[in-house]
C-alpha cells in the first residue's frame, strides 16, 4: 500500500505503523499490525469488540506503549517522542472523559492550557470550535448536566481545540441514540474534509457513511484494508444479478441460456417460489440488460431483475468473523474466496483516497455511500 500511495502523494504518511504488537499478559491484543495513513485520509477501523481497535488507537495516541514494533504520527515516534505526538493529535476516547464539574468553556480552556495555547489563542479558538460543534449557546453549561450526545460534541470540541493534524476517535458514536448518532456522524463528515481522521467503530453503517477507506481488524490482525469498493471488488467477487421469472417448463433451458450469456460466471439455482423461479447469475459486470433482452425474447414473465453487490456488512461478517452469514445475500456462493481469520491481510493495491473526499469512487461500481447514508 505504501509504495502505491507514494506515487499518488509526495507527502510522507501521517500515520505509519510497523509490525505493531501489543500483549496484555498472555493475551495478544494486536499482532504484527502494519499500515500507513496519508495526509487527509479518513480511515475507519472496523472490527468486532475485542479485535484490538482501541488498543491500536491508544498506542497511536501515546497512551499505551507497544510490546514490539513501532508507530509514528506526523513523523514522530509514539514512544520516544510521545509529547510531540500528543501535541499533534486530537484524541477522543470512547468514554468521552470530561470534567463534570467544569463548564463547557472551562473544559476547553483547560485543554487549551494543557496544549500551551496563549490566552489570545484560547479566546479565538474556543468560540470557533464551539461554533463548529454547535455548542456556542451552551458554553456556560456544566459538562455534567449535558446529555450523552452533547457530551460527545464537547469531546470533539476538546479534541479539535489544538487544531491537531490527526483526529483519533474511538467509537465516537457509541452509546448515542439514533438521532444523536446521525448528528455526530454529520459532524465527523464535516471534520473529515479538513483533518486526517482515524476512527473506530463496530457499527458498519457508521464506517460506510464516513470513511472512504476501511481497515478490518480481526483478533488483533489486519484482515483487510482498502476502500469499500476495492474490498467489495477484490474480496467480494460476489456480485450477481438476481433473476426471478415465471419460467414454466423451461427451467433447465433458462439455466443453460443464462449461463451462456457472455460475462456470466455461474448460475445458482435459488429454487421456486410459487410459479416463479429464481436464479442468481454471478458476474462482475451488470448483465441486467442482456438478461432482460433474453427474457423478452423467450417470453418469460419477469418478476425481479436486480443487480446485487455484497454489502460491507457481508464482507465484514466473512472476513472478520469467518462466517458467511445467512445465505440470502448475493455473496452466498463465494465463501471459498474469503480468507480465514488470522491470515495475512488482504492488501488492496491502489491509491488511497488522498483528499479524503467522501463518496469518492476509485473503481467502478463503488457507490457504497447510498445503502446506509440515506
Amino acid at each position: 500500500m505504501g509504495l502505491a500511495a507514494a506515487h499518488c502523494l509526495p507527502l510522507p504518511p501521517v500515520i505509519s505503523v510497523q509490525h505493531l504488537t501489543r500483549r496484555f499478559g498472555s493475551l495478544t491484543a494486536i499482532s504484527d499490525l502494519s499500515f500507513e495513513i496519508e495526509q487527509g485520509e479518513v480511515v475507519g477501523f472496523l472490527g468486532p469488540n475485542g479485535a484490538g481497535k482501541t488498543t491500536c488507537l491508544r498506542i497511536l495516541a501515546g497512551f499505551l506503549p507497544a510490546t514490539s514494533g513501532g508507530a509514528s504520527v506526523a513523523g514522530f515516534d509514539v514512544l520516544k517522542e510521545s509529547l510531540e505526538v500528543r501535541r499533534r493529535i486530537g484524541y477522543l476516547a470512547e468514554t468521552v472523559p470530561l470534567y463534570n464539574d467544569q463548564r463547557v468553556e472551562e473544559m476547553l480552556g483547560f485543554q487549551g492550557q494543557l496544549h500551551s495555547l496563549s490566552r489570545s489563542e484560547r479566546a479565538r479558538r474556543i468560540p470557533a470550535v464551539l461554533e463548529r460543534v454547535g455548542l456556542l449557546d451552551r458554553r456556560r453549561q456544566m459538562v455534567g448536566h449535558l446529555s450523552r450526545g452533547l457530551r460527545q460534541r464537547v469531546g470533539l470540541a476538546v479534541a479539535l481545540l489544538p487544531e491537531p493534524e490527526v483526529l483519533i476517535l474511538d467509537e465516537p458514536t457509541s452509546g448515542l441514540d439514533p438521532l444523536q448518532r446521525i448528528e455526530v456522524r454529520g459532524l465527523i463528515q464535516e471534520l473529515a474534509l479538513e483533518h486526517t481522521v482515524l476512527l473506530s467503530s463496530h457499527i458498519l453503517p457508521e464506517i460506510e457513511a464516513v470513511c472512504p477507506r476501511v481497515m478490518i481488524l480481526s483478533e488483533g490482525r489486519l484482515a483487510a484494508d482498502g476502500t469499500h469498493a476495492q474490498l467489495v471488488e477484490t474480496l467480494g467477487g460476489g456480485s450477481c444479478v438476481r433473476f426471478e421469472a415465471a419460467l414454466g417448463a423451461e427451467v433447465q433451458d433458462a439455466q443453460r441460456l443464462l449461463a451462456g450469456i457472455p460475462g456470466a460466471q455461474r448460475v445458482d439455482d435459488r429454487g421456486r417460489l410459487g410459479i416463479h423461479h429464481c436464479f442468481d447469475i454471478q458476474c462482475d459486470e451488470d448483465l441486467r440488460e442482456d438478461i432482460g433482452a433474453l427474457a423478452a425474447q423467450r417470453g418469460w414473465a419477469l418478476r425481479e431483475l436486480s443487480w446485487q453487490k455484497p454489502t460491507l456488512e457481508e464482507l465484514f461478517a466473512r472476513i472478520a468473523l469467518g462466517f458467511d452469514g445467512d445465505r440470502t445475500g448475493p455473496t452466498g456462493a463465494s465463501t471459498e474466496e474469503s480468507p480465514p481469520p488470522g491470515s495475512a491481510p488482504v492488501q488492496i493495491d491502489g491509491c488511497p483516497s488522498g483528499t479524503g473526499g467522501l463518496g469518492e469512487k476509485p473503481t467502478s461500481g463503488g457507490d457504497f455511500l447510498n445503502p446506509f447514508n440515506s
Partner: protein
Amino acid sequence: MKGTLTIFRREVSALFQSPLAWVLLAVSLALSGWIFVAVLEESGGSVKASLAFAGGGSKVYWMIMLFLPPLLTMRMISEEARNGLLEFLLTAPVSDGAVVLGKFLAAWFFMAVMWSSSLVYALVFEVVGSAPDWPPVVGGYIGALLVSALFCALGLLSSAAFKTPALSAFVALSGSIGILFLPALAGLFEFGWLGDTVAAVDILAHFHRSFLIGVVDSQVLLFFLAWAGFFLFLAVRIVEAKRWN
C-alpha cells in the same frame, strides 16, 4: 515542569468547588478554633501556650493532620483512572510527572490555606496588643507545611496505587498513622539498630525539637522533602505503570 501549573489550577478549583473540601475546612477550623479558645481560657490568657497548642501541641491538630490529606487526595488519581480522565491527561502533551506534581501541589496548597489559621490567631494577638513570639509560630507553620507535604504525597501515592477512593484513603491513613506513631511504639521496646532507625524518622520528635521552638533545621527540612519526593516519585512510577496494563 510544563503543565504542572495547569493541572494545579484545575485541581485547586475542583477542590474548592466540591462540598467535601468546604466541609473539611469548616470542621477543621472549628475544631482548632475551639481548642485554641479553650486553651486560651484555661491558661488564663497565655498567648504562648494557646499558640503552641494551635500550632502542633494538641491531639486535634494531629487528627486533622492525619485525616485531611488522605481525604483530599483519595480521588485525585484513583477516580480519574476509573472514569477515563487519566487517559485524557496522559494523552495531553504534559508529562506524567507534571500530572502527579500538579495534583500534589493542589492538595498541599489546600493544607497550607487551612494551617494558615494559626498565623491568623497570632496576627490577631499582634493587632490587639499582646505581641506573640513569632519564631515558634512561623516555625510551627513551616512544620505543618512539611508534615502536610509528606502526608499529601503519601495520599497521592495511595490514590495511584489503589482503584477506589475509599481504599486509597484507608491505606493512606493507616500509612500516615504508622509513620507518626511507629517511632513512639519502637521506643517502648528494645529493638537495637532497627529501633534506632525507626526513631530517626520520628516526625513528632522533629516537630517538637525543631519547629515548635522556632528553629527550622535544614536537615529536618531535607528529611521531609526527601520523603515527600520519594512518595511522589513512586506515584509517578505507578501512573506510568498504568499505561502498561
